[in-house]
């Protein structure tokens, strides 16, 4: 224990090193605070939905009440869905700044609605967010480099190396002690603020434990790299330059190269093609016999097939039938598009096994449910909700029931999903 205390005393006398630690703790805290501010802004936006929605739907209800036409109710009503941030989202905001977390849908064709975005300033999104994941993945390695680059070479240059090696408990044991102490201090600078923030935000204990284990694992990679470079017996300056160049390659250059490679190797059917095809399928209905549309709709949705035949007048059930047909007609394209996105994402995450920077980012955004998987999960929940919406309105349209004002109170409600079943 005394030896450890001795090392700590030596370390604490290095003003620059102590300042570096304090700076890291400060940056970590600032990033955590920024993340919490952003996440609470998103929660507030979600909390503001019901009031706005109530106002909007009341106006629709007042209008529909004149005709009690379920078709008008279905056509004019927007229904909100949302994707509340997971407890850990504050630490890794992932895609939440560029993908919508609130989306209103109508019972019309979903494929024309589900890819819509929210309003955001692209110039602010471009450099990436200042969150905990950024501090850990991008900045922490630089601090490792600053504390480790001259661990051995500095002593050699000061002429103390031989003496230190000859000391009892010197040599390897000494370097291990010094490295472990520095690693532990870096861990504390990152981990303690994170732990406090995570407790405030109510993150599950197991998740906190995973992140707290992830931090030293990632730091250890960089420590190992620094020790490896140190073994080459170059001078301190060369060590520092080599490590900084390695950082540049591993954190900035390799991921961008891999991004180009992945996007070239895995072409994704453009989402725009889905939108184009869906629109053609929908609008064609105006030019073909209405019975064809209904036949096709009933074939896919036999539960409504006993509905009364169409009269000569416009009927909304025909209108919604061809919207449904439009969605059904692009089903295969939608699946292909999605599996293309998933393939790209999987390739990116697979790279994480080689590039620790990517691996840590992938793991953090997975835990925080802010990655593509989470985005697609939100889209699945929108699809589920939309299915319920359609079934609800079809019940009125195809069974010729009037849509009363009170029926607006029976609208399907979007269910917030619970975060208990996250899988990595």
């Amino acid at each position: 224990m005394n030896l450890w205390m001795q090392e700590w005393r030596l370390f604490s006398r290095q003003r620059l090193a102590m300042m570096a630690l304090a700076l890291l703790a400060l940056l970590t805290s600032a990033a955590l605070a920024a993340g919490i501010v952003e996440v609470s802004r998103q929660r507030a936006a979600i909390a503001a939905i019901p009031a706005a929605q109530a106002e909007d739907i009341a106006a629709v209800a007042a209008y529909v009440d004149r005709t009690k036409d379920a078709g008008s109710a279905a056509y004019y009503s927007f229904h909100p869905t949302w994707d509340a941030p997971a407890p850990l989202a504050f630490a890794a905001l992932g895609m939440r700044d560029v993908a919508p977390y609130i989306l209103r849908v109508r019972a019309l064709g979903l494929e024309a609605q589900i890819y819509d975005g929210d309003i955001f300033n692209p110039e602010l999104a471009l450099p990436g967010r200042f969150d905990f994941a950024f501090v850990l993945v991008f900045l922490a390695p630089l601090f490792v480099i600053a504390l480790f680059y001259d661990l051995v070479s500095g002593e050699r240059e000061a002429g103390r190396l031989r003496t230190l090696d000859a000391l009892p408990n010197g040599g390897r044991a000494l370097w291990r002690r010094r490295s472990a102490l520095r690693l532990a201090l870096l861990w504390a600078a990152l981990g303690i603020p994170f732990g406090i923030a995570a407790l405030i935000e109510g993150v599950a204990g197991s998740t906190i434990a995973i992140v707290l284990a992830l931090i030293p694992a990632y730091l250890l990679f960089w420590v190992a790299l620094a020790v490896f470079v140190g073994r080459l017996r170059w001078n301190s300056v060369t060590n520092a330059a080599t490590l900084a160049a390695t950082w540049l390659v591993l954190v900035l250059i390799a991921p961008t190269l891999a991004n180009v490679a992945i996007n070239t190797a895995i072409p994704v059917d453009q989402g725009a093609e889905i939108a184009l095809a869906q629109r053609e399928a929908v609008n064609r209905a105006w030019d073909i016999p209405r019975e064809d549309t209904m036949r096709r709709f009933y074939a896919g949705h036999p539960e409504w097939a006993d509905s009364a035949p169409l009269g000569p007048d416009f009927h909304y059930k025909w209108y919604f039938a061809f919207h449904q047909n439009g969605d059904d007609s692009v089903h295969d394209r939608v699946r292909a598009y999605r599996s293309g996105l998933e393939a790209r994402d999987a390739a990116g995450r697979a790279l994480g096994w080689v590039l620790p920077s990517v691996g840590v980012q992938a793991l953090l955004t997975r835990l925080a449910e802010t990655d593509l998987t989470a985005q697609l999960g939100y889209q699945d929940r929108i699809r589920d909700f939309h299915r319920r919406l359609r079934a609800f309105y079809y019940g009125y349209l195809f069974q010729a029931r009037p849509f009363e004002r009170g029926d607006f109170g029976r609208l399907p409600r979007y269910q917030q999903y619970s975060f208990s079943d996250v899988r990595i």
Binding site: I49, D56, A59, M95, E123, L124, A125, N263, G348, A362
Partner: protein
Amino acid sequence: MSVGDRTVRLIARDELRMMARNRVAVIAFAMLVLLTLVAVASSWAHRNGVAALRDRHAHVAERAFDAQPDRHPHRMVHYGTFIFRPPGPLAAFDPGVDAYTGNSMFLEGHRQNTANFGDVRQSSLLVRFGQLTPAFVLQVVAPLLLIFLGYGGLARETERGTLRLLMLQGASRRQVVRGKLLALGTVALIAGAPAMIGLLLIAGQPGALAQYMLAPMSLIALGYAIYLAAWAVLILLVSALVRRSRDALLALVAVWAVTLVLVPRVAPDLASAAVPLANRLQTDVAIARDLRTMGDSHDPDDPHFAAFQQSVLARYGVDRVEDLPVNYKGVVAMEGERMTASLFDRYATDSFAAQARQNGIVAAIGVLSPAIALRSLSMAAAGTDVAGHRRFLEQAEAYRYALVQRLNRMQAEGVRYADDTARDAGADRRKRVSGDHWRAMPDFRFVPPDGRTLATAALPGLVIVVGWLALALTLLALATRRLGARS
């Protein structure tokens, strides 16, 4: 040529020889050149691929629109049209926000849709690590290389006492510093050259080197040259101020990390916290609310539309809508579209104003980081900044409005009111107008900004970068006087 200049050149040549002997530096330099070439090639291929794809989609959409059969004009209002934003020629050098903004838009009546399918939502998580473009290489990677090559330039001489030796041989402090600066500047020039050649190649593609692109391209070249020069001066400044070359390296890497990695990320957070942006749900609900107070075309008792009807009847001198020479339903559609479009414009203007305020905050913070200033200069000159995206959205909205109103006018003038309200078996046929009309509709053509507009937008960034260079030069001149004084 004076003797002094020869001394400067001798010192510069000596310094370059030192750098060439540093194997790590040479390898790093070769890698930078290689990286630039890869970046130019891939960015160019990406830009051309994207341009071809969007062009193809646009043609498919235009052909589909033209091929529509005889229809009621209002059906075409809802059929709408898809438009695609073509990337500008300089997007291959600096794609800016292109990946973050949607590039396709569905235009229809009564609604303003979002631009969708940006790359950022169609790529793996790697896209958020940055994009490999010539601009990225010059902004981020090149300064670090210059640091590796130049940190020891003066610190090494003071540390080893060789500075005194140089001065004993008759070189002045200024000459030493100018020599080192010449050497590092030469390296910076060579480091930036491949990207600039890439820029020229990019500009050489058909249509790009129209004369109007000359101004923004020169500004880009000038901006990056000044930026790298400012780094070279800054590196020597730190090298002059710090006594040990090791400290110079650490300090410079720290400055690099703060200005290029940290500040660009912190600034947007501060900006978005300071200026909130209304989200789409709140905007849509607000537009619907405003529309209800302005007038509801569905409501037969609505005061606005009652007055509107009276004014239309008065204009044509008739008493009943049935007697109008035009189809009143089309006239109402035009009035309704005018009202919604005015609201879309107002809310879009507000949102853009808020975004401009956010970007203004980031630009103000850019005074602290030349990288932010250079980035905005580069994007503005390439036409790939938020202003460029706004240009697309505004042209899209103008086109949407014109298209929808043409269709509404067609309904007013080409479909008789009696047919439009008829419900008999043949009514559907009589409501339709000839499909030839769709082919007569003009297609959407994005009008790219002229060089003057782009160059003007890039000027503020240039001023800041020049300011940085001037400041660094002044400080270096001051530091030169005290160079080696304490050693």
